[in-house]
């Protein structure tokens, strides 16, 4: 009997192995659910890993209150359909101070509403392991990170002193207050993700598919006019254009691309000919050189 596993089967098995290792070795894990396509894949893998049981941990969404409306609708729909335990955390201090991407810029907004909010949520519930959907092919500081990535009690990542990670033998030991961020999709590429979504028929937020949407051109990006909190600057107009998103975050910080790709096949086809990387649509990575590493050290996923 010789059955060679396909590339996706290998990736899937590796991710499932990682999920189970965390469930076996940690007392209070959580999955960070960001509602994007990688989160959809992560959730699907978690369902597989523990079948016929449900994943033995809750899903946590850190809501910046600036996510696309369609993301929130999709999130609630998935929670209901799959029956997982969904926790939503908002940094109420940030809401009180009215921290927002328009007035405070992407840096401050992301720090307060995402990074700090995440630390608050992890402390509040006392989670000792948190799954995230980051992939090593996304960005060069991520390419350096371990699958089991240690955080001290202040949630700080020390990239210069990571634990060796040998074979599939993961060091899951931590002292009280410390935690591990776990990345089951570390070895997946963007193409693998799309291919898997296609193969497994995984539901994703409709924003990934092309549609006529009201957008504003600002700072070289096409920003969706998602609600009336977005104020037009002089000279700006809202236009309906055929667009879609390669990546999803806070709507004022996420650029759309003009595209007619309205099926998964068309998206993959488009990706194969794309000449820019997916994070290019994210304003936050360009704030300053090494900005992703800096955010990660502070506790961003």
């Amino acid at each position: 009997m010789t059955i060679a596993l396909t590339h996706l089967q290998r990736l899937e098995a590796e991710s499932i192995h990682i999920f189970r290792e965390v469930a076996a070795a940690f007392s209070k894990p959580v999955m960070l659910y960001s509602v994007g396509k990688d989160s959809s894949v992560l959730m699907h893998l978690a369902m597989k890993a523990f079948y016929p049981a449900k994943p033995p941990f809750p899903f946590l969404h850190v809501d910046t209150t600036w996510k696309f409306r369609e993301m929130i609708a999709f999130r609630d729909q998935m929670a209901q359909k799959l029956g997982f335990d969904l926790l939503v955390h908002v940094n109420e201090d940030g809401v009180r101070d009215n921290i927002n991407p328009f007035d405070h810029g992407s840096n401050t907004h992301t720090h307060v509403m995402k990074t700090v909010a995440l630390r608050q949520a992890l402390d509040k519930y006392g989670f000792d392991a948190a799954f995230g959907g980051a992939r090593r092919d996304e960005e060069k500081s991520r390419a350096k990170e371990r699958i089991f990535s240690f955080r001290n009690a202040q949630h700080v990542w020390d990239p210069k002193n990571q634990r060796p990670e040998m074979w599939k033998i993961f060091n899951t030991r931590i002292a009280s207050g410390e935690s591990i961020r776990v990345f089951p999709l570390s070895n997946w590429t963007e193409l693998d993700i799309w291919q898997y979504i296609l193969q497994e028929n995984i539901p994703i937020v409709p924003l990934y598919f092309a549609k006529e949407r009201p957008v504003v051109e600002r700072d070289g990006m096409l920003i969706l006019n998602d609600d009336d909190r977005m104020k037009l600057r002089p000279g700006e107009t809202v236009e309906n254009r055929l667009v879609r998103f390669r990546t999803l975050g806070c709507y004022p910080l996420t650029g759309a691309i003009e595209s007619a790709a309205d099926t998964l096949e068309a998206i993959v086809g488009e990706m194969l000919t794309a000449r820019t990387s997916e994070r290019q649509g994210r304003l936050i990575d360009r704030d300053e050189a090494g900005s992703m590493e800096k955010k990660k050290r502070e506790g961003y996923f």
Binding site: T2, A4, Q9, I16, R136, K140, N187, G269
Partner: protein, 645 residues
């Protein structure tokens, strides 16, 4: 940068065809290693660039970075593409391994770009542990260096069987064949005994691309493959599916009373519904009732698949055990020999207790014998008392509980382990099991009829080990003496193990190095255990400066039997008292490795009894000890008679 309009939309069918072709491609995982500045990162940048993996925005960022940090003048510095950490770009060195992904029409690749500096060897090992092939880079101007050798030895120990010898920067030696030939000859000589199945030497210039993806016009004398050609075609398949069935149980899935599944990843071999399997540690046999997977049960499954097995009866299996083929079983032992690569700045010390972790099992372990250290330059086996950071050695290991394993040479998944420091939780070493030790197979515990309980009952007492720790001159011996007298007066059976006295007999062969101190404590702890087993109340009076060894002693004893007594006298006071005149000599440098002076004392964090001696008499402290002992005995008597819990 402008937003972009995505280009040509491929028709659905061709996308499906393309994806189907992608799925059939095999995957090669490899690493680049070698000494500092041999051009590892540059080579990866070149590979990514030549295989069109670098997007326009990344290229733009790279051009910006090259101007700022680059080391290649006006050219793009490809190393900046993989050196993803700020500290790396600033210093122009690689600190940690970076994983990059690329594909050619024939194969997919995951490459680990690993650091060349000796101090980051552990990160090179991390990259090598999941690789099937290593590209060993050599600077044509430098030839084979110490790090070239160290990395080759580690690659070999970690089971890598295929090497590409990339003789880089050949442009800087005028594409000279003689230089290339000499390096190939040197490397061949050196690596003769490393067990590599293939060594393919390629002369190249990563910076200019010669013989990377395109054939070089500058070296007509070279007729071998380009690097890409070789990577696309080299066969590294290790047929894990052909090996005996091994299924390390990772997680017991029990959502309700009707379902009990064993989840894990098949390490080797294959399994089908109805097959017989054996539980490795107990030898109990069972059959596979179901192979559960999301989307429907499977009839069979093979190495690499993550599945859930349901057995047809209720045999006892938990995480850390293994389900295995009945015809070819793994070894189950608590003593074995292993190759160790040491990662931590605190040296490996024989006798110290570490946590040993296999893929799913965990137990504590000590190195009982460091047989030798391997000199990375000439493979000489050197006697050693400890293993320093980045050193490689072969050791005998003894675990607290037996583990199931195969020799690493037969199975890379079931033959490997890591060692973890008990206090810092750092991953301090990696191990590859060579073979089990016969001793473990042949010496079984004698079950004796007269037990500890009976012996203690006869003395009308409960055994205890009072472990006095504290600086030299802190008053341990004085208090211990007085305490024993008092216990003796109340009819208790006692014995004092005193540091100085034991060093005149049992431990006369030991000195005061860290390694010897660990062994000193280990022996005393074992003796104390035997005495407690004989029913005695043992008072151990030892400086015992390291918390790791006190913890090891604690774990040897039964629950509640080990009582850590911290005799807490400040250093200044001890030095002032100086009953044996030792502090005066140590402070003058006449005695080396003196605790508190030039060797550390790690104070207990949570001792059972904390005696602050300043301003208190020895009698007062002995009263406190006796009071503590009486309280314990009363509590345990109540517990035994079911009185009050």
């Amino acid at each position: 940068m402008r937003h972009i309009m995505a280009k040509s939309l491929a028709p659905t069918d061709s996308v499906r065809d393309y994806l189907a072709a992608q799925e059939k491609k095999s995957l090669l995982r490899f690493l680049t290693c070698g000494s500092v500045d041999d051009g590892k990162s540059t080579l990866i940048g070149r590979l990514l660039s030549d295989t069109k993996q670098i997007f326009e925005d990344q290229l733009a960022a790279l051009e910006r970075d090259s101007r700022k940090h680059g080391t290649t003048g006006d050219d793009i510095d490809f190393a900046l593409l993989v050196d993803g950490l700020e500290a790396e770009r600033e210093q122009g060195i690689t600190i940690d391994v970076a994983y990059r992904f690329f594909a050619t029409p024939k194969r997919k690749f995951i490459v680990a770009d690993t650091p060349g500096h000796e101090q980051y060897t552990r990160n090179m090992a991390t990259g090598a542990s999941t690789a099937d092939l290593a590209i060993v880079l050599i600077d044509a101007r430098q030839g084979v260096l110490r790090q070239t050798r160290r990395h080759s030895i580690i690659a070999s120990l970690l089971g890598i069987r295929h090497i590409v010898l990339a003789v880089n920067k050949i442009d800087l030696v005028d594409f000279d064949q003689a230089i290339f030939d000499r390096i190939v000859e040197d490397y061949g000589q050196f690596s003769r005994d490393l067990g590599f199945q293939s060594i393919v030497p390629i002369p190249m210039s990563a910076r200019y691309g010669d013989n990377v993806s395109g054939r070089s016009d500058n070296m007509q004398w070279y007729s071998g493959p380009t690097l890409i050609e070789h990577l696309e075609t080299v066969s590294v398949e290790e047929a894990a599916v052909e090996l005996p069935f091994r299924f390390p149980v990772q997680y017991v899935n029990r959502p309700n009373l009707d379902f009990r599944g064993f989840a894990g990843t098949i390490a080797s071999g294959a399994i089908a519904q109805g097959d017989e399997v054996v539980v490795a540690k107990s030898g109990k046999s069972s059959h596979i009732k179901r192979i559960v997977a999301y989307g429907g049960d499977l009839k069979q499954a093979v190495a690499g698949q993550a599945i859930t097995l349901v057995l047809d009866d209720e045999v006892e299996v938990s995480r850390g055990n293994m389900l295995v083929s009945p015809a070819a079983r793994p070894q189950v032992a608590d003593q074995f020999a292993a190759n160790i690569v040491w990662f931590d700045e605190h040296a490996l010390l024989p006798g110290r207790s570490y946590i040993l972790r296999t893929e799913t099992d965990q137990t504590s372990a000590t190195v009982t014998d460091l047989k030798y250290r391997i000199n990375v330059n000439d493979f000489a086996h050197e006697a050693a008392k400890s293993l320093e950071m980045n050193e490689v050695g072969i050791c005998n290991i003894s675990t607290r509980a037996p583990i199931a394993f195969d020799p690493f040479a037969e199975n890379r998944t079931t033959g490997a382990f890591i060692l973890i420091d008990r206090i810092s939780n750092a991953t301090v070493g990696a191990g590859m099991i060579v073979h089990s030790l016969r001793r473990a197979e042949n010496i079984h515990w004698q079950s004796l009829d007269v037990g500890k309980r009976v012996r203690a009952d006869m003395k009308n007492q409960r055994p205890a080990v009072f472990w006095f720790t504290g600086l030299s001159g802190s008053g341990k011996s004085t208090i211990a003496n007085l305490f024993e007298k008092k216990l003796f007066a109340t009819g208790r059976h006692t014995y004092i193990l005193d540091g100085d006295n034991v060093r005149h007999g049992l431990n006369r062969d030991l000195g005061f190095t860290d390694a010897d101190r660990v062994e000193n404590i280990r022996r005393v702890a074992e003796v104390a255990k035997l005495m407690a087993d004989a029913g005695l109340i043992v008072i151990v009076s030892f400086i015992s400066p390291f918390s790791a060894e006190r913890r090891m002693a604690r774990e040897l004893m039964a629950d509640g039997e080990f009582i850590e007594v911290f005799v807490d006298t400040p250093f200044e006071e001890c030095a002032k008292r100086d009953p044996k005149g030792l502090y005066a000599r140590a402070l003058k440098g006449e005695i080396k490795n003196f605790t508190g002076v030039d060797s550390p004392y790690e104070a207990p964090e949570k001792p059972e009894i904390h005696l602050k001696t300043l301003g208190r008499s020895a009698e007062e402290m002995v009263d406190a000890l006796e009071h503590w002992l009486n309280e314990r005995d009363i509590a345990e008597d109540q517990y035994d008679s079911g009185g009050g819990i």
